[in-house]
Subunit: 192 residues, 2 copies
Amino acid sequence: MARRGSYAKGVAKREEILTTALDVIARNGYRRTSVRELADAVGLSQAGLLHYFSSKEELFQEILRKRDEVDTETFDIHTGRPIEAFFQVIRHNSEVPGLVQLYAQLSTAAGDADHPAHAFFVERYVQFRTLFVGMLRDEQAAGRLDPDLDIDRIGNLFLAAADGLQTQWMLDPSIDMAEHVAYLWHLITRKG
Amino acid sequence: MARRGSYAKGVAKREEILTTALDVIARNGYRRTSVRELADAVGLSQAGLLHYFSSKEELFQEILRKRDEVDTETFDIHTGRPIEAFFQVIRHNSEVPGLVQLYAQLSTAAGDADHPAHAFFVERYVQFRTLFVGMLRDEQAAGRLDPDLDIDRIGNLFLAAADGLQTQWMLDPSIDMAEHVAYLWHLITRKG
DNA sequence: TGGCAAAACCATACATCGCTCGGTTTTCAA
DNA sequence: TTGAAAACCGAGCGATGTATGGTTTTGCCA
């Protein structure tokens, strides 16, 4: 499933690389993690590792893609109430600082239009915006949310708050990300 | 003023490095800017440049520190109404994408406690939080803001929104950062 | 079941990076 | 005028990401 024509061994190895890389980054931090180190951790040479991912940045992108897939399943994004899943994901994030570092670094680096992961993040934000705005629309339709609210802007503000709070949390772990986002939700839903 | 014991020439050169580096980064983007390139741009060798800044990361940190100083003066942060200055800074940011890239990258990299710029950003956030919360307290005292609001949390949410919107704006420049932050302000001040 | 194309994987090498070291030249106060 | 410190450089080191040209392993199908 990794690529067309992959052997069973290759598919398993690719998966092993992703999960192992996640561990190494979580333990060593994003800055101090090199391709050689990741290759060693899965018993491959650097060239052997780069057979599966054409560059370091693509490897990191795929790690984050897999994270999204796992989170989507684990926290029941599409079936439950998305706002609840959103809070759960944020709470969970404070237990995987390495991933937060990786995400923050790669998503900002991808701001450059030439960055290999640029398209990935552009699409990611589109998807999350759509998901969030759809949820807000449902809340409005159910009468639980002021119909005068600009749900497009609010959707962007929620994503921005989640990202920005990660930066603050990395600098000062005493900041409770989920609590802050919950307060933003309170600000929006108050005065029914 | 740059360091104790600097000669006049050195002080001027240090200043030239900062302003030139700013231009180069704005033009080439943060990723593609190396120390060698910056050294060339000011007519120095790399070793010559690193006489003024002990590392690349310290140079970038000093660029951002200078940016803060210039913005503080230009937009009248301490004398005018801080919220207005805040909007102006954000509007101005969309005209200096290179700086936004640099800030986003360095501030997230500094999340690692071992990063050379870690202390700088920790302190920076403390300062901005203090400034912002003070402003919110004044608004409450003047009766222009609901006294029940948690101004500490709101302060953090504003900083987070400003940061997170930069990420979104880099990925999609059609996003109006200032407009979104203004809408957040509207959400907080509505229903006086 | 044996052959063979493609996948899996490696050793080596290369360009570039940030940075250090040991020096020379320039500045400027005493 | 002098000399100590600042300003600056050439050369090179170790580490990084990645390209190249190969060998070994896998598994489909004839």
